[in-house]
Every structure is written in structure tokens, then in C-alpha cells.
Subunit: 861 residues, 2 copies
């Protein structure tokens, strides 16, 4: 049986224990059965995204086919473990899907050509003459073509079982990408030992900041009965080299640590195990008190230490390869060591010591800050918190603790500088926490390929050990020779068929895994690889989708958060639509510090919060000076007047206007690009992606208008191009002739055109709003701005004269229960022949607490 625990320990020289052989056998049998069914149940199904990048569709290219015709007919597995068995079956499944051949599964070298999977140890035992020269890091593999007993043989030789599986996926990926696998000699090692995902799933089946449906792990307060999706998720994760997964919300429910749940959790661990994915949990440090029967959770109290020790023993008895705990403490209302005047190091170590004998680790989140900061004090700065708290503790964390640091100092905003804490820990293991789930970056409703953003951070040189210290080397433990470290991605997949609720968003999960394995891969490499695996080899598709992905972050940034000011969203609510002032005047510290003269937080050492001083001098120098601070981070680092001139030559305020109009156009352009792929992409995914980006293009206009209106109002400086605040073709709903509809104020005001909407209130069955068209005769589009809340499904109908020209239901589930920037959306009714004098009428039928809210009608073309 494969034991990552053990291997990691080996590299850490930690002590360990042995799991009972009976358990091994049990899981082994379960895995076998499971996998055999998987082999033959490859469905002839539509492309619904469920298979993600592991589609294994038939190879059509004749040249590739011919090259692959020489592949061996036998796949040998030299090891006995479930992971090796899964690897062998995956090879059979993949070859079956792509080449239509069912390989023979053997456990000994046959007298013919073969693919042979095995650990170095197993190869040594089988003695085929393989000389694995330099040893590989755990999880690494070597793909090697060589003759064995005169037969051409393809070896997947690995440091451990997990490496065998990863090497298998690597070969299948090569085949899927049309690459040759006939003369291989490739060694691959992961950049770091920790390559985990975090899921923020709640026991009731919801997922905090999850946008792909309900939990695959929990339902109704229990571990789900059917763990099929967990098995499939394990496979997806393994295919990109992920070796651990915490499955519950970082705002952890301590009940999970009680005996009834531990038995249930073992089922999940059993399901993940054949894929080399270790189960881990988010834990609440107050558990010894809240569920443990103690009257304290003081980490320095020996009873608390004993409690964690006992809990670890209990856990490892049923989950022998348990990965460890993820801890969020003293953060956003969670209890923490500060209750007892203890440090995060105290809290982390007491748990780490309990896990140590079993090979488990603690990931302690550096996301610790005071969310009751006094906003009136201009020296207060949430961005400082992580460094201020953790830097002084450097060296005080145990060897099996990893401090888990978000990429930026705030919270997954659309643009942040690299957290200075990465450079502030030399004697502490660290990991970078990246957010795959798009909390502040469009919640999978907006296309936002995050790999380029992550790359900027990973490649950023913090000069922590002199020039040439990129973040990727720090988190991998390379710079300061740490035994542990790595990558954690908040993934939050759900039960939606396509996992993340969006086909294209899966590029982020894929990209995270690929970067965790090799952070030196480039964004275009990853985008192209994912696109080819996901949509096939058509060069037009590959080029277009890659291009859409690579431009998407910049587009999203352009209409949501200019110049490093942060995502200008409703930070008190859904973190989705625009809600600019929600950032200000409260203790959360995501301030933008705007007034009638200027905007931005002064984080300079000279006059501001001093945050910039947390960077090494070489970096700090660049940020400190307006002359050198890059435009992209200007408002993160400095407070400047709206009239301040950027390096680009534009003023800040004009940049805001321009970038938002460009961003909205860019979103519209995504639609155009995607539409060119009709017929080249299967119908279902084509349609689903199209409907997503068509929505996005509308939402981008909502953002554009909200932000531009707000800045126009705040600064009083007009848009030099005359766009902001001027909508000559727009008829405000509140200005129409209303039948039953009533004008209402929208909050925040900037999220509705004209600050107002109309609603069909007071129990009315149906309301109308109409106006007379005075424009020229011709073909026109009617754009109806309305609000689609998640507490009702209103219906709308549009008439020109007495002709019904469109009707639709506001049946989306946008994250708001009122008309605002999150629920604002639009309907485009194109190709209407309008004539002067036409009566244009919108009819709204309320439902539930959604009162058919309407914002405006715009005549386009």
C-alpha cells in the first residue's frame, strides 16, 4: 500500500507507525472492484464537462494513430498497492478511450513488449536491468524507453507508488496531446512536497464561497452516502499531482472531530487513498473545549496537549494516512490562542506534536487580522497583519508546521502585491494559498483564468535571500532549505456536472495543479495544454480558447478594480457585484480611502502605514516611490489625487473611465471569439459557455457603469470621452409610463442606472412600463436592464405595439435578494424592426420576493 505519510516522513526523517495489514487488504480489494467497473463504464455520453481534462477521446489524427500503433499490448504493474493498481487500470482506461485497445494487465514481466509500472524498489526486485541513476524526490517519476529481454519496453519508474500513478497520467497526457511516447527519457519531480487543495464544505452540504453546486463530501450533517464524486475528484486531483485535500470549511465545525464523524471520514479517506490523495481536515483550535469536554483550549495547558494527542491517535487508528490539520484561528471571529495570550506558534505546535508520531502536518493560516480596525486611523492597515504577527514567530514553529500564506496581503483581490511574509520567514515552513474558486474574481460567472495572476506572484522576486528569490522558491522550501512547503489551492468543487459550475473555470484547477508540480511552467503553456485536453486538437479552438483564457484576468480587472485598489465589490455581502463604498467606513480594512480629491491607501514608510517596509529594501524602494511604483499597484501603495498622472500618461480618473469601457468591450469580445467556435466545440459545452459569457458581457456593463458613475460622482471630473454618466439611447424605467410599477431607490445607488429601478409591489399580479420610440426606422436591438434575484423567478415580456417580441424568466440564481450590482443583468432582444411611434412595453410578473425589478431599456444599433 502506498503511504505518502511514510515517504514524506522518510524525507523528513520522522518516526512512524504501521497501519494494520487487514486495513490495507480491505482498501485494496475495494479499490480493485471500483476500478474494474470504472474501466468498462466509459460512457458514450455527451460532452458535459464531467470528464474535465481526462476525456480520453479517440485519437483521430492518422499520423498520431500510426505512431501509437506500436504501443505494447501489456501493462505490467510491479507493485501490489491500491495506488499502483489504480495506475495500471488508468493506463488501460486511457489507452482504451484514446486508441480503442484494451491492454493486458499483468503483474510480471511478459516475454513481449510492455509498459511497466513500478517503484524503483520494485524494479530492483524484478531486475530488468534498469539503472535508476540519481534518486528522485518523493512522488517523482522517470519515463524511460528501453529494451528488456530484447523487447521494446516503456518504463514508468518512480520513487514511490504515487509517482507511478503520476507517471501514468503523464504518459496518458502525452498521448492525448499527440506527443510521441516512443523514445522517452524524462525525469519529473514535484517542486514541493505539499500540493494540497482545500475545500470549504459545510456539514449541511453547502460550500462557503463554492460556485459549483452542493458538497460532494457532506449532506444533511453527515458524510454523503454516495462517494462516487469523491472518487472521481480524487482521480482528477491525482492527474495533476495533488496529494492532499482538506474537505471542510476553514471556519471549522468541531463536531467533525468526534467519534461518530471519524468513522464516516474514514470512508472518504478510503475513497481518496487509491488516488494518492491524503484526507486532511480543517480544525478549530477551540475543539478541546467545544467538543473535548475540557474547560480550556490553551495550547500550553498539558490537558489540551493530551487531548490533541489522544485525538490524533483516534484519527490515525481509522485513517492511517491522515494528512493533518488546517488551522484558521484568531481570524474573522474564530477563536484562537490570543484568548490565552498565546501565539499562533503555540497553537500550531501543540497540534503538530500530536500529529508528529503519525506523520501528519499542520497548515496554519497566516490569514490572521483584526476585523474591527478603526477606519478613522490612517495608520491602521490590515495588509500589515500577517507579517506583523508571523514574522516575529519565525523559527518558533515545529518542523511539521507549515504557515499557509495567501498570495497577497489582503484577501484574493483581483490584484495584490505578493505577500511580504513569504520573504519574512526563514526558519519556518511556508505554503502559498491560492484561490481556485473565484470568490472576488467573478465567482465562475465571469471568465477569469488565474494562472497569469498566480504566476506574477510566484515569479515575483522578493529578494529575501538576495536577488533571485522568487516566491516559488520560497514556498517550495528551496531558498532556506526547509523540509516542507508548497502549494494549497482553495478549490471548492461541487456536485455540478462540470465540477466548478463553469467549463472554462476548470482551467484554474488544472493550472493550480500544474503550477504546484512545476511553477516554472508558463501561463500560455498551461492554457494550451488544458485547452487541448479539454476541447481537442482543432487549432482554431486551441488558439481561441487559450487566447480567451490568457486575456481574461486583465479584462476582469479592467472593469472591477483599477490600479490595485482591490475588487470594488460589495465586501460585506456576496463579494460579487459592484458595491464600492462597502469597503469604506468599517473595521474590515479593505479600504480604498477615496474622497473628493483622490483615492488609494498610503502604505509608504515615509508617510503612510509603513506596510511597504515589510518588503526587503530592494523591493520596498520600488513601491515607496511614486516614480517607480507600477501603475497596476499604485492605489494599493499610495493615496493620490484623481488627477495624478500615471506612467501611461493618463490621469488616474481617466484611466478608471477608460479601463472600465475597455474591460466591458473586452468581455463583449470574448463572446465574439467564442461564437466563432460554433460547430467546432460540441453543442452542450458550446451553449453553456456561450450563455455564461453572454451574461458576463452584460455584467461587465453593470460594473462599468457602477464604477464610472461612482468615480464621476466622487471626483466631479468628467470623462474626457463623454461616456461616463451619459446614456443617450437609454430610457430609465422610472421615466417610462408605468402601469402598476413603482419607482424604488436602489442601494448602493451606483448599481442601478439613474440610481433607481421600478418594482411591481403591493401584491400586484402584473405591471407594465412603456414608452414611445422616437428614433429612426431600422433594425435595432432592445437591451432590457433588470434585476434577477435569488428569492423569486419573475417573468418578463417585451412588446412592440401588440407584438410579443420576447419573454423570459428571471430564473438565474445570482447572489442577491434585492436589486443591486449582484442581481443586475440584462436581456438583449436583437433584430427588431422599429418604426417611429412604436409603443415599446415591458410587462413584469413578480414572483416570491422578486418584484420583477426593471432598470432601463436601451435601444442599440
Amino acid at each position: 500500500m502506498l503511504r505518502f505519510v511514510r515517504e514524506m516522513k522518510a524525507s523528513l526523517s520522522l518516526p512512524g507507525n504501521r497501519s494494520t495489514p487487514s486495513l490495507c487488504r480491505r482498501t485494496h480489494r475495494a479499490a480493485l472492484l471500483m476500478v474494474m467497473i470504472a474501466v468498462v463504464s466509459i460512457p458514450v455520453q455527451g460532452e458535459d464537462g464531467h470528464e474535465a481534462w481526462l476525456r480520453y477521446t479517440p485519437v483521430h489524427d492518422a499520423a498520431v494513430q500510426q505512431r501509437l500503433a506500436a504501443l505494447p499490448a501489456v501493462v505490467v504493474r510491479l507493485n501490489e498497492s491500491p495506488v499502483s493498481t489504480v495506475a495500471q487500470q488508468e493506463m488501460i482506461r486511457g489507452i482504451r478511450g484514446m486508441l480503442g485497445q484494451t491492454l493486458r494487465a499483468e503483474t510480471r514481466l511478459p516475454d513481449e513488449s510492455a509498459i511497466v509500472l513500478g517503484t524503483y524498489a520494485a524494479f530492483e526486485k524484478a531486475n530488468p536491468g534498469l539503472r535508476p541513476a540519481p534518486t528522485l524526490k518523493p512522488d517523482g517519476y522517470w519515463l524511460k524507453s528501453m529494451p528488456i529481454h530484447g523487447h521494446p519496453t516503456l518504463l514508468v519508474a518512480a520513487s514511490n507508488d504515487r509517482g507511478v500513478l503520476y507517471g501514468t497520467f503523464a504518459i496518458l497526457r502525452k498521448i492525448a496531446l499527440g506527443e510521441s511516447v516512443s523514445a522517452l527519457d524524462e525525469r519529473e519531480e514535484p517542486s514541493a512536497p505539499v500540493r494540497w487543495v482545500n475545500q470549504w464544505d459545510n456539514l449541511d452540504g453547502t460550500i462557503e464561497r463554492g460556485y459549483g453546486g452542493r458538497s460532494i463530501f457532506f449532506e444533511g450533517g453527515q458524510v454523503a452516502e454516495d462517494l462516487t464524486r469523491v472518487r472521481e475528484y480524487g482521480r482528477l486531483l491525482a492527474s495533476i499531482g495533488i496529494n492532499g485535500c482538506t474537505i471542510n470549511n476553514v471556519n471549522a465545525d468541531s463536531r467533525l472531530l468526534t467519534a461518530p464523524y471519524l468513522r464516516q471520514l474514514a470512508r472518504i479517506a478510503d475513497t481518496f487513498r487509491p488516488w494518492g490523495v491524503r484526507l486532511a481536515l480543517a480544525a478549530d483550535v477551540s475543539s478541546p473545549k467545544s467538543v473535548g469536554g475540557l474547560d480550556t483550549f490553551d495550547p500550553l495547558d498539558p490537558r489540551v496537549a493530551q487531548w490533541w494527542k489522544d485525538k490524533a491517535g483516534e484519527l490515525y487508528a481509522s485513517i492511517p494516512d491522515f494528512g493533518g490539520f488546517l488551522v484558521k484561528a484568531d481570524s474573522e471571529g474564530r477563536l484562537g490562542p490570543s484568548v490565552y495570550g498565546r501565539t499562533p506558534a503555540d497553537a500550531a505546535n501543540v497540534i503538530a506534536r500530536a500529529l508528529w508520531p503519525h506523520g501528519g502536518i499542520v497548515l496554519y493560516r497566516a490569514f490572521v487580522y483584526n476585523h474591527h480596525l478603526d477606519w478613522r486611523n490612517l495608520k491602521n492597515d490590515r495588509a500589515r497583519a500577517a507579517y506583523d504577527i508571523f514574522h516575529p514567530l519565525d523559527g518558533r514553529f515545529d518542523q511539521n508546521v507549515v504557515v499557509q500564506i495567501k498570495n497577497g496581503p489582503i484577501d484574493f483581490q483581483v490584484r495584490e502585491p505578493a505577500s511580504p511574509l513569504f520573504g519574512g520567514l526563514e526558519r519556518t515552513n511556508e505554503a502559498i494559498e491560492l484561490q481556485i474558486t473565484q470568490e472576488y474574481t467573478g465567482q465562475q460567472r465571469h471568465l477569469c483564468f488565474l494562472v497569469p495572476m498566480w504566476k506574477e506572484v510566484l515569479d515575483f522576486d522578493l529578494h529575501a535571500d538576495g536577488e533571485g528569490t522568487p516566491v516559488r522558491d520560497l514556498v517550495a522550501g528551496r531558498t532556506f532549505h526547509r523540509p516542507l512547503g508548497g502549494f494549497v489551492g482553495v478549490s471548492n468543487v461541487g456536485r455540478d456536472t462540470n465540477w466548478l459550475g463553469s467549463h472554462l473555470a476548470m482551467a484554474n484547477l488544472y493550472g493550480f495543479g500544474r503550477l504546484a508540480w512545476n511553477p516554472c511552467l508558463t501561463s500560455p503553456q498551461i492554457a494550451e495544454e488544458w485547452t487541448r485536453l479539454t476541447f481537442g486538437e482543432d487549432p482554431t479552438v486551441v488558439e481561441t480558447v487559450s487566447d480567451m483564457l490568457l486575456g481574461s484576468w486583465r479584462i476582469y480587472e479592467s472593469y472591477t478594480g483599477p490600479l490595485g485598489v482591490g475588487t470594488l465589490t460589495d465586501i460585506l455581502g456576496s463579494h460579487y457585484g459592484p458595491g464600492i463604498e462597502s469597503a469604506e467606513y468599517n473595521g474590515w480594512g479593505q479600504w480604498i480611502r477615496a474622497d473628493s480629491q483622490g483615492i488609494g491607501i498610503d502604505r509608504t514608510v515615509a508617510a503612510g502605514t509603513g506596510y511597504i517596509g515589510q518588503y526587503c529594501p530592494a523591493v520596498a524602494k520600488v513601491y515607496e516611490s511614486l516614480a517607480t511604483c507600477p501603475d497596476d499597484l499604485l492605489l494599493f501603495m499610495h493615496h493620490v489625487p484623481f488627477t495624478h498622472s500615471l506612467h501611461s500618461g493618463k490621469t488616474v480618473i481617466q484611466h478608471v473611465y477608460d479601463s472600465h469601457y475597455e474591460g466591458a468591450l473586452g468581455a463583449e469580445e470574448l463572446v465574439r471569439k467564442w461564437k466563432a467556435l460554433q460547430g467546432r466545440v460540441d453543442g452542450q459545452r458550446y451553449g453553456e459557455v456561450l450563455s455564461g459569457i453572454v451574461y458576463q458581457a452584460g455584467a461587465a456593463e453593470v460594473w462599468r457603469d457602477a464604477v464610472c458613475n461612482w468615480f464621476l460622482h466622487e471626483s466631479g471630473i468628467p470623462d474626457a470621452q463623454g461616456r461616463a454618466g451619459h446614456f443617450p439611447n437609454r430610457i430609465e424605467a422610472e421615466a417610462m409610463e408605468l402601469g402598476g410599477y413603482e419607482a424604488v431607490q436602489v442601494t448602493p445607488w451606483e448599481t442601478a442606472s439613474g440610481g433607481k429601478a421600478i418594482e411591481c409591489l403591493n401584491g400586484r399580479q402584473r405591471c407594465t412600463a412603456h414608452f414611445n420610440y422616437h428614433g429612426p426606422a431600422g433594425w435595432h436591438d432592445l437591451i432590457v436592464g433588470y434585476f434577477d434575484q435569488n428569492n423569486g423567478v419573475s417573468r418578463f415580456a417585451a412588446y412592440v405595439g401588440d407584438r410579443l417580441v420576447d419573454q423570459w424568466a428571471a430564473g438565474d440564481h445570482l447572489p442577491s435578494q434585492k436589486p443591486d450590482g449582484s442581481s443586475a443583468t440584462r436581456r438583449v432582444i436583437d433584430g427588431l424592426a422599429l418604426r417611429p411611434g412604436d409603443d415599446i412595453r415591458i410587462e413584469g410578473t413578480p414572483d416570491g420576493e422578486e418584484y420583477a425589478p426593471l432598470d432601463y431599456v436601451e435601444i442599440a444599433n
Copy 2:
């Protein structure tokens, strides 16, 4: 309101009555509402076949787009009727779908370019300067581009409202086909007034010989609550010019004529009416007795005449445009006038006279024969029956009676000569009955495009009025100047999303309608037109699908019924799989007259049944002589020795062997052709069609082997090519090592390989059959022959050694409850690496009364 009754009467100079204006208004409003919803509910859905050939997908071709950009923005409807309203809305819907523009709907000529829809009368009233020179037959239309008040205008001018609708569909079809609509001057008239479909639906929701799911008209003994599919069916029918539909089984349930049902039927009529489709019913001539309270149904009894008169009055009160009755009498156990010694003319006329004042008609089926014929008498001949019975009655049918004659003298066999009765009625209206539902031609599971078969009959010159009397002119009433006549298609669509249970089978429904309108259209024209409308403009797709369609009848014939012998199916059961001797030794008269020396029915005048004498001498001469009788009909007309030499030079027996092997290869070839369209056809339809033809290719082998085995056994003459009866790579299930399985005899013997199968009987949970592979090492396919009955879902698993290589469920619903030629099918497990000594094992798990029946395993490649 459109009244086809009235128009047909006009052309017949029949008297008529007026419907109440209130009814008109009611249906008008209903139609309007219905249609407006239809306009805006064009779904963004996958291609599931539901839209059939009316997909109205966006025009992508830039040249076509540009040409169409000049289309008017207004569609004017000059008439008030529901049919005209539907036409206008259909024009809007079609243009909306294809060009993305919503036309303005007007009822008066605007001061701009327009499409104007109207009857001649309406145009005359609107006075736009149109001079409709020669008058058009009812339902005809004229598409005419001309300026009106200086504006380019496109007119759809028609003889009646239905013509307006047909003209509208014609324009939309032109647009969909990429044809120009800018300078039109086209007159179109239907070939005949009767263009009906028959549905054989039962009140319980089943459909006799229906293969597309349950009834869209009835469920649970009542008219269905939701008639959405009826409305959609009406639209499909209208689009191909069908103007009437009988909705119930010809084996009619008399309850439908009682008051409670009449009210329900009115709902169906209301639903059809806006599409110009008249509701009609199949009626049992014994109704006056069975549900009418009389003690007789003697057509000459005045009480019976009065009963039909009253019934007609009742019917027309609620369905003012009721089409009439379809009668099957004295046929296959149905009661008829023979009970009282009366003739079909008596029976038809008594009903016809009741309908006459209302404008209804009677379609009296000529499918009257004795199904208790003495098979020992070689002079007996079912093929003679229709002519023998109806020819003497020529001139004795009322003017509003149409004798409905099946295309051939037997019963929709895969090949029959044209019925001589078409030429045997000069003073009687006649219609041709064609079977769209593929009863004897593969039941929509086999691809069999019937248009070429129908064309052979329609174009066949019966010399009835001298040379140049094709059947199409006879049934259209053209030859003998009959006022009525036409085309009836047994369609049997059901609730399956794609209507007929098969995407490609819809070409038959389409083709029927197009031929009924214009029987001079060629098969390639129809095939290409349908393909382009159904699958789009990709030339590869158009060419491939057309080619598949056009060759399919010959392929099906090749493996199911050689040389005109009839479909060699189980005629006593499902009429589906092979069951050769079921035709013999019973009273049904579908004999093939086979013995150890020869085969075929001697229908010569000289020595046989004399059937050939029913044809005009010019035709009879050709059939009578072996020297001139075409090979395709040889065994229909003559009894010959197996060694008889065909015109092709082959012996009959070798032709049987050759054609069956060629047919099976042809079916396999269909798979290859279709597979080349992957990626060119949307995923859902691609997959569904593929799975259908892959099944067909297997079923074709079942047919091939059954027929060849039987002929080999019967004739004792070996296949010159050594194929028949020799299966060197096949291992009979009964010859394997069995674990629980038992050998059973299959009936008829020729439908199982070796005459036997194995079943897992006696309540066993699971049985196995295995054998040792002795062939060469290499990549092979395993073909598992098994039986998939409709009374259980057995499961099968296949192993090579201990490797599960495939598993599947026998979950199809083939029309048999036992192992036989209908349930026989196969599973192909391809790409297996076999090595000498491999143990190959099939595991069967019975379910219900299906005992996991297994026939053989074949090693291919």
C-alpha cells in the same frame, strides 16, 4: 376561418353549410395565443430531432446572409383566419431563427417593403395591383416578387388559406436551403386533393406498428390532456403539405364515435385546425350495432343510414371541418358488409352519404382479403384479393368515396409490384396507401429510406389508359378525371422526442409529404433537401447522408427478402426479425412456396394463380414470361428451381447467398460512412444514429445467417463462396464449458447460430460460459452474439483471464419475449490483445424472464 372542406367542395361542387361565427372567433383567439407563445419560445436546445426538418438554425453563409439582408422588415397577413395567422407567425418564427430578425406583423399594406400573405380574394380586396392570371387548385400558391406602391414586395398569393401557409413554408424552406427569394415567380399546386396521414393509435396510448413511443393523441383510454405534441405534429404536417390526419387505429374502437369522445376529439381538431390539418377518424362499419343501439349494421338498412346521418350531424356540430372516415372492413377479422351479403360499395356509400352534406369523405381500404386461405391449393392467392373484390365495383362508389389501395398487392413488403387495382378503377376515386412507419422494413431500427421504393410504384406505368399511365397520375385522379384522390401515409409518430424513434426515419415522413405534393420529385432531390434541412449545409454531411439514405432500401432488401419473395420475417409475430417458415402452411397467404427444389409463387396466367392477368396486357406480358420478368420480382411472379439462372447470370440460390452477404456488408458500410461525420453532426444525433446503425449492422448479420442457413438447408446446395453455414472463427455457446448455463433449442432454428443458444435457467443468479483461445497472439475483436428480449434486462460481463474487458446490459426493447431472430443481437468488444491459452469467459446474469441467453462468440480480425 379556413375551411378545407369548403374549398374541396367548391372543386367538387358539393353542397355545404356554414359554421357558426362564434366558433371561428374562439379558435382564432386560441390560435393566436398559442402561436405567439411559439414565436418566442424557440429554445436554445441541443439537436435532439424534435424540430425535425424545421430547425430554422441561423444562416452562417456570408453570401446567403448578405442576399437575405434585403428582406423586408414587415410581414403582412391580409386574411383573418387562424391558418393565415399561423402562417404569419411561422414566417416571423422562421426569419427570427434563421436571420435573427423579428419581422413586424401587420394586417394592412405598409408604406414600405413587405412580405404579403393572402388569398387571391384578399389580394383582390387589398388591390395592390396583383393580377393572378390562371387560377390555382385548392392549396396551391404563387410566390411572386413585384413592386407595390414602389416598394419591393414578396407576395405569397394562394387559392385558399392553406395555400398561404404552404407558400410561407416554401419561402422558409428556400431560405433554409440557401436559395434566393429575391426575384420569385413560382406557382405551386398539389398533385392531388387528398394528402393525408393515418395514425394507428389506440385509446390506451399504444400504437399498432408504431415505433416512436406512445400516442400523442390518447392516453389511458382518453384523449390526452396535453396536446402540445399534436400542435407540433400539425406544424410538421403542414410544412410538407399534409391536409388531413386520421388519428386512430384502422382496427377502430367504436367508442370514439360516442358523445363523450366526440367532445374530446374536438380538442384535437381545434389543435390541428390552425395548421390546415383536418381531423379524420377510422371507423368500424359495425358501429351502428356495437355502440349505436341498433340490432344491425347492414348498410342497406334505412335505420343504419339514419344512424350514420345523425352521427355525422353530431360530429360536425363540434368539428365543423371534420375530414371524414377511414374504413377497414371485412379484413383481418374486422366485421364488414359481407356479414349481410353487401359489398364494400354499399358500406362505403352509406357512410359517404351521411358525410356528403358536411363535405366529408370516406376512405375505404382495399386491403380486404381472406386470411383463412387454404395453403394447400396452389391456385389460391391473396395478392388477387383487392382487384378481385374492388374491380367489379368500379363506378358503384359515391363521389366522396376514395378507395385506399396499398402500394402493392400484399402488405408493405420490402418489394412488391404495383397493385393492379390502381389500373382497375376508372370510375372510382382512388388513393395510394404508403407506409411511413417501417413495419416490414426494419421498424425504424434499420435504416430504410422508402422514397425510392415509393417512386418505383408511383412511376410505374400500368398502361391503364394506354402507355404513359403511371400510378401517380391514377391516384391523383388525373388519368380518368376523378374529382378526388391522392396519397395516404401511415405515419405513426409517437411521443419520442424525434417523433419516429429514429432521426433518419424522418426522411420518410418528409418524403411522403413531398411526394404527395409533387410525385415527380426524384429520390435524390428529396434526400438532399431533407438532409440539408435536417443536418445543415456541410457538403460532406449532405453527400454522405443522402448517399446513405438512397442506398438503404436496397441494402435492407438484400438481407431480408431476395427477388421479390417478400420480407422473410416472422409474419405471425412482430414482423421484425427473420422467421422464414412463418409465411408458409397457414391461411395468411404470404407464402413463399419453397420446397427442396425451388421457391416462389407461380402467379402466371398460364399455369399459376392468374394474378398477372389483373394487369393490362402490356404489363402482364412482361411479368408472365420468365424471359422478361425482372429479377427483382421473379419470386413474386414465378416458382423457379433454386438453380434457375437470373438475368444477372447467377443462380437463384447463389444470388440469395451473395445478396445476403453483400447486404450485411452494406449495413456495415453505413456505419463506416456515418462515422466519417463525427464532429460534423451534433453530438446527440451523431451518437443516437450511430448506435442505431451499429445495431443494424449486427442485425443484418443475424438476417444474413438465418436466411442463408435456411436456404442452404432447404436447397442442399452449398454457397459457391463457401460462406453460408461456415463460421470458422465462431465458438457456439453450447460448445463452451458451461457453469450453470444450459443449452436450449431456438425457434425458428435458423435464427440462432447452430440452432441453439444457452440460457441461465432454474432460478440461477449467474451463469458462465468459457473457452480457451487457441488463435495467434494479436489484437482481436470479440463478437458476442446474444439475445435481448423485452421481458427482462439481463447483464453480461466478458473476461479475458481474470480481466473484465466489458460489461453490458441487455436493455434494449427488441420486439420479442424469447430468443429468436427479433431478439438476436451482438456486442462487439474491440481492441483486445489475445494470447494463445487465454481463457475467455462470458458471465450472464438473468433478469425477469430473460435468462441471459447467449448464442456464440466470434473472434474477429
